[in-house]
Amino acid sequence: MLRGLAWAAALIWPWAGAHADPSPARVVSINLCTDQLAMLIADTGQLVSVSHLATDPRSSAMVEQARAYPANSGLAEEIYLMQPDLVLAGEYGANATVDMLRRLDVPVLRFEQAYSLDDVRARMIQMGEVLGRQDRAAELVDRFDARLGDFQAEIAARPRAALYYANGYTLGDKSLAGQILTRAGFDNVAADIGYEGGGVLPLELLAMNIPDAVVTGQPYPGASRSEEIMDHPVVSVLRRQSATASVTDSDWVCGTPFVLDAVSQMTDLRQSLTADRP
């Protein structure tokens, strides 16, 4: 009965257990994005383990820092043995692990994904509250806001860019990558065509809309047919026309302050594009 109540409470107020003790002492993160936010905000010794993805340079912007923590592979029994008093997970995925941990009375908190730069801010503040490190979070938010303000300067011409990933996947305005593009002074071709979130953009439509820049994903090692589209002659022609090849990297993946590096990278690209113009 008590167990059931506790479980129900965990559902309604997932960090109910953590709430009793305002700052959890043993926190385990099993999601790439919560890994990075936690590493940025947690107190020394508070974060016990991060996911193994945090040390993968393709997706993590904090590889060096992550090496200092034991890595986990997100399996329930492995996490349980770490005796965490809070587990941080992402909005999606790892369902079986999260369910199992909750059955074992381990409090799990799912962080929503960031779809905009405002979301990034909100996640930092939320992480500060969850870890009882509001001051540290506020400090990061201030820095974030200050740096973001620098990008607000006058943007004379807005070149058109398209994000183009494996399988012809693109992202519209309601996505972090789309917001990075817009903030860096680009018009998002996908948004113009009517894509809000993500979706498959047929190669033909990409070609017809002649973007000034095609920003593709970083190829993984080993071959895949999904990524072949990024080497399609049409994409090559479009990229040649824009004279700049740009690739999204780990800065683009998560709602962390590192997205500002991506904005900065794209701003440089925009400036080089507009400078080339007669």
Partner: protein, 327 residues
């Protein structure tokens, strides 16, 4: 040219034209043709020449190759159920292609991919013929096909799962069902020489396949060199399947459906069926690829889904008939 040949050729031409005109980018029929021939280097030209043209060429080529290979296998085994996809040759070829791609063989050398696909296909044909015997009875043929397909599919999955590329693991569907989405001229140049060589080899078999109507003994006594014919069949089929699978994955049922539909129209003569099936196969794959593009344009519906939706019921019908006739 016979009337049937003429009709089929016109059908292929019409479908080829349609393939150049239909697409998510709304370019009118006239503009499409102008973009193809004139070519001002603009966006329309890019779309028609670099996206639609290679796709249409590949559909016609691969369809023709698979149609002919199916007709040749059926004629040789004297069994209407023999289709390179169904009896596991395409699966084995896909395994070869995947190994080449994942080991980096395909990157090291331009011929790495086609060569590996060919090796896989050859192993597949040899296995099927060894298991099914000279006159492939339906039962042994289908059982051999199931076994080879299952093994090749499992190994393909394994190779893809071991790939460091997270996308590769999800691509088993492509290799099992086939797709022509976003193929380029580079893929045409991989497929074209193989399919051309394979169809030329298979085309030499017309007389022999006709003679085999009377059985191996009678055909051999009429001067047919059976061993030589078997060699050409094996090489020709493997080459065609390799060219197709290396660029478009395993597309099934073309070699089953097309010869079945056309057989009554050529008086059931296996020799004449070869060319008719090549034209018919080209038409069927062009039509299937158009269907894929028109029905669910944004979903990358796999070609094999369409061909299987048409082919599998026919396959069931053929099995039923085979059982009734006690073959």
């Amino acid at each position: 040219m016979t009337r049937l040949g003429l009709i089929l050729s016109l059908l292929v031409l019409a479908l080829f034209g349609a393939a150049l005109v239909v697409g998510p980018a709304s370019i009118g029929p006239v503009d499409s043709i102008v973009a193809l021939i004139g070519g001002d280097g603009g966006a329309s030209t890019l779309v028609v020449r670099e996206i639609r043209l290679p796709r249409a060429i590949l559909a016609a080529l691969i369809g023709a190759g698979l149609g002919m290979a199916g007709a040749a296998m059926q004629g040789y085994l004297r069994n209407p159920l023999a289709d390179p996809g169904l009896i596991g040759i395409s699966g084995a070829s896909a395994l070869g292609a995947v190994i080449a791609l994942q080991t980096g063989l395909a990157v090291q050398s331009g011929i790495g991919l086609p060569l590996a696909a060919l090796t896989g296909a050859l192993i597949g044909v040899l296995l099927v013929l060894a298991l099914a015997g000279p006159r492939g009875s339906s039962l042994t043929l289908i059982l051999a096909g199931i076994a080879i397909s299952a093994l090749a599919g499992a190994l393909t999955s394994l190779v893809l799962n071991l790939s460091p590329n997270p996308f590769a693991a999800n691509e088993i569907v492509f290799w099992m069902m086939g797709s022509l989405a976003d193929r380029s001229m580079a893929h045409v140049w991989i497929a074209f020489p193989l399919i051309l060589a394979g169809t030329v080899m298979l085309a030499t078999l017309t007389r022999g396949l006709d003679a085999l109507t009377l059985g191996e003994d009678a055909a051999e006594a009429m001067g047919l060199r059976l061993n030589r014919m078997r060699m050409i069949l094996i090489l020709g089929t493997a080459t065609v399947v390799a060219g197709s699978t290396a660029v478009a994955g395993a597309i099934g049922f073309i070699g089953l459906v097309v010869p079945h539909i056309l057989r009554p129209l050529v008086g059931a003569r296996p020799g004449r069926l070869l060319w008719a099936s090549a034209l018919g196969g080209a038409a069927m794959l062009l039509a299937s690829d158009l269907a894929v593009r028109i029905l669910l344009p944004a979903r990358d519906l796999k070609l094999g889904v369409v061909t299987a939706l048409v082919g599998a019921p026919l396959f069931l019908h053929l099995i039923h008939r085979t059982r009734r006739e006690g073959l």
